[in-house]
Amino acid sequence: MTSENHVETTVVDGVHHHQYDIVIIGAGGAGMRAAIEAGPGAKTAVISKLYPTRSHTGAAQGGMAAALANVEEDSWEWHTFDTIKGGDYLVDQDAAEILAKEAIDAVIDLENMGLPFNRTPDGKIDQRRFGGHTRDHGKAPVRRACYAADRTGHMILQTLFQNCVKLGIEFYNEYYALDLVMTEVDAGDGTTRQKPSGVVAYELATGELHVFQAKAVIFATGGFGKIYKTTSNAHTLTGDGVGIVWRKGLPLEDMEFFQFHPTGLAGLGILLTEGARGEGAILRNASGERFMERYAPTIKDLAPRDIVARCMVQEVAEGRGAGPDKDYVLLDCTHLGAEVLETKLPDITEFARTYLGVDPVYEPVPVMPTAHYAMGGIPTNVKAEVLSDNTTVVPGLYAAGECACVSVHGSNRLGTNSLLDINVFGKRAGRNAVEYVNSGVDFTPLPDDPAGDVRRLLEVLRDSNGTERIAAIRKELQDEMDKGAQVFRTSESLDHVAEVIAGLRDRYRNIAVQDKGKRFNTDLLEAVELGFLLDLAEVVVASARNREESRGGHMRDDFPNRDDEKFMQHTMAYLSGDAHSSVASDHIRLDWKPVTITRYQPMERKY
């Protein structure tokens, strides 16, 4: 609480104005990791629609990968290879190398900040197995995931928050960023270009608008799993940040690749970490068969998620599902013993008990794939700088974490690589932003009435007295996405979803916001969030329709093979034309971006 930090806030026409060197949107793992770098170096504010500790990073369970080699031989090269292979070679290999190399420091940083990792008998950070992580390029599973019981994400989130408290980072909690302000500036070569000049946020408590003028803006708003019905994601993961960037006309990369985690509690989607299988749990079908032996003979249940999820759905589709409706498979932990479950997997043990009434110590747990992680998002380079096309950097704009696409995950993220991603690239975003704002750049002037768009958007929604319920539209979107754009997709199913979405976009214009008040109007915000969900679902489906091959998280029943010839490239989706038309083809333009390959040539992916 030092006085040189003193902020002057001014109010113009009811809109509050703030000025910061760096504004970070999102206080999850990526946002706070960036803040820890940025805070000491520049005047920084973190805007978050949730209290920082409510962010969904806290839900992550299993671990964070780093080739520390604390318990067995390991190397960051192997980690790089696994990441690339896990991502079905759609990974940008320069980024994957950075991820794997900087992983070690990232884990050590966290430990030094206080994170209570589980320990080995000699007091070092303990490590466990995880899907797709292998020794020596696929020979056998390796212990690479650093963990704290099954609460790794919780510990990361708490530790980062604790360090933000230590550093006195300024948080604007329960502020919803709703717009990125771009200003037309002279590009220096006679043309003009768009440059970020600030952020517009809505203060939930009062209903007032705030404009944060900033030299650099970092997006760290997390994923958008709520486009699906069955998901491990929080209610608040509605992809606002990705949506904002999209609406600004910036591209989105690889949106068709969504990860379905094999082991969500059946019917609920609450996650049971892959760490369970890392500790030895086994997937079984109705007859008790360990079916993964058939599909991935070497690493069996520890195959990457896309493969396991697909096998599970196939088992159920072929009638070998368990339960009265034969619609799930079983995760068998009974042989692990109460001791391992209580000490290494206490939380998921409790989830199964609480929400299904099933005690994993004695009974196998019903599981089915659950929408989990968006591989795609805002395209960035390895410096976490946002790109406006395949190569052009938007100066002063950064993105990190699940909302970004570097792309280290390619078409399928390996378990434990995301907690790593948020730390490595969160740190990079923060550090590079500081470097940028301290390099002599000035504030970009704000346009007249920077909050105008948001104000109009909110006014329209608040005054809307339509007949459509927000929840009904959202539910239909989620149900349809689950049916048509989940683990298996076909052009038919995708066409159908696209049609449904078009209809829903029409209906969205006629919604009713019942709460007309200013204070804590969550009804209004749900309407705004639904808008983002519809936008993003539309991009996901359009991108998926366009990729006529099967790769990683994107499995086309009608094109079951990987097609490197045509599709060994990233999808880039651009908003063009009429943003508000219901028909996707009117305003989505799809393009490609080459994959960076440094040392591993694409091979067939077998485990």
């Binding site: 609480m1 902020v7 933000c164 408290v165 006195g168 980072i169 948080f171 604007y172």
Partner: protein, 140 residues
């Protein structure tokens, strides 16, 4: 050294203004034992104030003391004494429970069991005391 936030600055010198009411909190053994401990503590305290004053009358004269202490021997006061002893016994036993809970982790974990032990001991003690005391009070 603290994270700052821009929402709702609180002025800690002034207690938060609470909206009234809501339902009664349904605490368990721990809370109700504390409520009883507090009530009995206050009751005993006020009795003690009076008791010191009346006992001090011994310094005035035997007559004065006997007059006042005589009122302790009426049936009504006799019942009051039952209540007083009940309060003291609960407060004492529960006080010991609190001390155990403070210093012994087994007791911290098993405070509910200890609460029922306190109740049981209270019943036993009162069974020993009440008949005897009432016989004294109501004899002749």
């Amino acid at each position: 050294m603290s994270a700052t936030t821009t929402r709702t600055p609180i002025a800690p010198e002034k207690p938060a203004t609470h909206k009234p009411g809501g339902t009664l909190y349904r605490g368990r053994e721990g809370m109700w034992s504390w409520v009883l401990h507090r009530i009995t503590g206050v009751a005993i305290f006020f009795f003690l104030l009076v008791h010191i004053l009346d006992t001090a009358l011994v310094r005035v004269s035997p007559e004065a003391y006997n007059a006042v202490i005589g009122t302790y021997q009426t049936p009504i006061m006799g019942l009051g004494e039952v209540a007083l002893v009940g309060a003291i016994v609960f407060h004492a036993f529960n006080g010991l429970r609190v001390i155990l809970v403070d210093f012994w982790s087994w007791a911290t974990r098993n405070q509910k069991v200890l609460f029922y032990i306190v109740i049981a001991l209270w019943v036993v003690t009162m069974l020993g005391f009440v008949p005897r005391h009432l016989m004294n009070v109501f004899s002749h």
